[in-house]
Symmetry: C2
Subunit: 141 residues, 2 copies
Amino acid sequence: VSSKDFLQIPILEFIISAEKVAHVQLGNNAEHALLVLTKTGYSSIPVLDVKYRLQGLISSQQITDEILGLEHIEYERLPDLKVDDIMKKDIAVIHVDEKFQKGLDLLVDNPYICVVDDEKTFLGILTRRVILKQMKKYLYQ
Amino acid sequence: VSSKDFLQIPILEFIISAEKVAHVQLGNNAEHALLVLTKTGYSSIPVLDVKYRLQGLISSQQITDEILGLEHIEYERLPDLKVDDIMKKDIAVIHVDEKFQKGLDLLVDNPYICVVDDEKTFLGILTRRVILKQMKKYLYQ
Ligand SMILES: Nc1ncnc2c1ncn2[C@@H]1O[C@@H]2COP(=O)(O)O[C@H]3[C@@H](O)[C@H](n4cnc5c(N)ncnc54)O[C@@H]3COP(=O)(O)O[C@H]2[C@H]1O
Ligand SMILES: Nc1ncnc2c1ncn2[C@@H]1O[C@@H]2COP(=O)(O)O[C@H]3[C@@H](O)[C@H](n4cnc5c(N)ncnc54)O[C@@H]3COP(=O)(O)O[C@H]2[C@H]1O
């Protein structure tokens, strides 16, 4: 496989599909989100709305940063905070029909990229781990 | 550059050196560690001893998991917990004289790898971002 052909491989086969991706819903509170993050062990996960459209990304770091008080970490405020107000909204996404080259470009600066269709429906994620596994196969050939 | 030569490039030029790496010390409490993690924005950082030797890795997920009580998240316990008891001790490391190939192998399953010398002195880290940037250069040539 030439590098040119390798970069043109569709990302479709490398996507971790939506049903395997831990996420939270718009309207969920920060305590629920922190529990999901801690229990699944992921440092950042997508936030979706009822129609399964991508709305943002939420991380435990963002949640803790939000409740860092002057005296102590204000954990009592967690049930009152919505993920909507904490999550990162301007996020990189990749269209499901894109090629490996675009995925690689975006994964240089992001641990994972959310995959969407024309309706912004969340279809899954593309991760650095999957990309690195493919690069390894390519280099070892 | 052939893939064979590329895989044999020494990791030395890609290491983020120790003085640029956020870390905590053995004996620090979990509250201090959580503050460092939240303020620097990193999800996981190394734990070093007074001689700058690598002792483990600590993440905000590990800290929160430790204080997840039945009723509520027990943040009041944070000052009493030491990073020594929470951190991950069996961690992948890479020797400073290693080549790119070894770095790539380890970074498939780890977001970053700590670089050490023969005395287990912490010298810096090798990250997925740096490796991906190099792979991009290699593929685009
Ligand atoms: N339960 C687990 N089993 C095996 N390995 C695990 C794991 N949790 C974490 N890792 C390893 O740690 C890396 C960083 O995970 P992190 O949660 O910070 O960062 C993750 C997380 O934010 C997100 N992610 C990955 N899989 C996910 C999923 N199923 N649901 C939600 N988010 C996911 O994508 C980022 C990059 O993932 P990537 O696989 O490249 O890289 C993962 C993977 O190599
Ligand atoms: N302040 C910042 N400025 C720019 N980009 C940032 C950033 N904080 C995070 N990122 C981006 O997010 C990725 C994941 O960061 P994370 O903290 O989960 O995971 C990080 C963190 O656990 C550790 N790490 C990286 N640089 C570090 C440093 N200077 N000190 C301590 N730990 C570091 O290595 C992991 C992988 O780092 P990598 O660079 O491959 O990947 C980073 C980078 O692409």
